[in-house]
Symmetry: C2
Subunit: 239 residues, 2 copies
């Protein structure tokens, strides 16, 4: 029995999220189907993050156990990428110890959320950023960000529908800054970037915190607003 860890990257635009849903195109569904073809057996994936519909990932991590040893580990990424749709890519495969669990062993996760704050949303950002038209106050958002950091019960930033029972998490860092998205020459798109690093995140926790930051930036009273998914990207999971 081998326990294998895969690191994957995806554009979440055309997926109904990570988790299996009958009749829907999901990251896990596509991945388990490719693994079934490659290993000739049913594979059950454990994932570090079950990202929502429309959410992207630069590095999400999954693991699974298999009896099949026919595929050498260094050849797994290329073999799987040949079976997967272009919007999911396996960037690494590694043998890990039997006890490794992608979900429970994750020590630290980092998410980034992008906002385009201006009148006309450039079409190239449609699936990459949240369009907020009224001017956001950066200083107020930075102040609000500081209040989020720490170890405490985050149930006020948890949506119904998750399976968590313990709502205590540690948020190590929240940063708010302006930066540029650059794709084409001479066309630097100024965006607002929030970055969140914590030991774990509750269901929709990042998007609810983004909602709270935007409300602070607009001088609005908090009303538990969940920011749209396309601005969110899972950057990294550390073990």
């Amino acid at each position: 029995m081998r326990n294998l860890k895969l690191t994957l990257q995806y554009d979440g635009t055309n997926f109904c999220g990570y988790e299996l849903q009958p009749g829907k195109r999901t990251i896990r569904g596509e991945l388990e189907q490719a693994l079934r073809k490659l290993f000739g057996e049913e594979i059950k994936l454990i994932s570090s993050s079950r990202t929502d519909s429309g959410v992207h990932a630069l590095q999400n991590v999954v693991n699974f156990k298999t009896e099949n040893k026919s595929v050498p580990i260094p050849k797994i990424p290329k073999a799987l990428n040949g079976l997967l749709p272009d919007d999911i890519r396996i960037i690494e495969a590694k043998k890990v110890k039997d006890s490794f669990n992608a979900r429970y062993d994750a020590k630290k996760k980092t998410y980034e959320y992008l906002i385009y704050n201006g009148e006309i949303l450039p079409p190239v950002l449609l699936n990459l950023a949240w369009h907020v038209k009224p001017k956001l106050d950066l200083a107020k958002m930075k102040k609000k960000a500081k209040t989020l950091v720490g170890t405490r019960d985050f149930s006020s930033f948890c949506a119904a529908g998750g399976d968590d029972t313990n709502f205590v998490r540690t948020l190590y860092k929240v940063s708010v800054k302006k930066k540029f998205v650059t794709i084409w020459e001479g066309y630097n798109l100024s965006v607002i970037s929030y970055k969140f690093t914590g030991n774990g995140f509750l269901y929709k926790m990042v998007r609810l915190m983004v909602g709270a930051l935007v409300e602070a930036g607009l001088n609005q009273k908090p009303r538990r607003f969940c920011a749209p998914p396309q601005g969110l990207c899972l950057l990294k999971v550390a073990y």
Copy 2:
């Protein structure tokens, strides 16, 4: 009678190109439909560049004539953007002299083409770059680029199906360089960028030149290869 000039930006991914095609979703089709709603009359657009299916534009220019003066010019972009799908945005509207013609008066156009040269194409670049796996020789492509510059008959870089009769164009500059696409934090995607500036371009001329540059970069014999559309973006049209 007013002659109006519009500058538009679009993500070409979900369009069958600029030019009208029965039953297909096109830039011109969407734009003429929005103009019809706004002005209450049939509008016939003249465009500087009839980009192909999948090709993007940061600044494409069109013009049209209308008797309708009910909409003040500064309000046209916002009014049209409210009627257009999100993947086309009007970034400027201007009154121009009666003789202005977006197609024939264009003096200079600049296109950029992006290539991802590596084993695994990051999903976020799927609709923005051409994936070329074998290593490209930058020096050879730069050398080839120099041979393209100048005033001459470019019919060897013209695909069948265009309506040009004069194949002489002036290519002012072709640049080949490495640069970074940056979207998310700490994740700089190294790409190869070609930039073409000329007084005009024949049907599929840029993509055929890109094909020739890539063949040079791979030490292959030229075989008139047309690069795929998604790597191409019309950056600017000057009058």
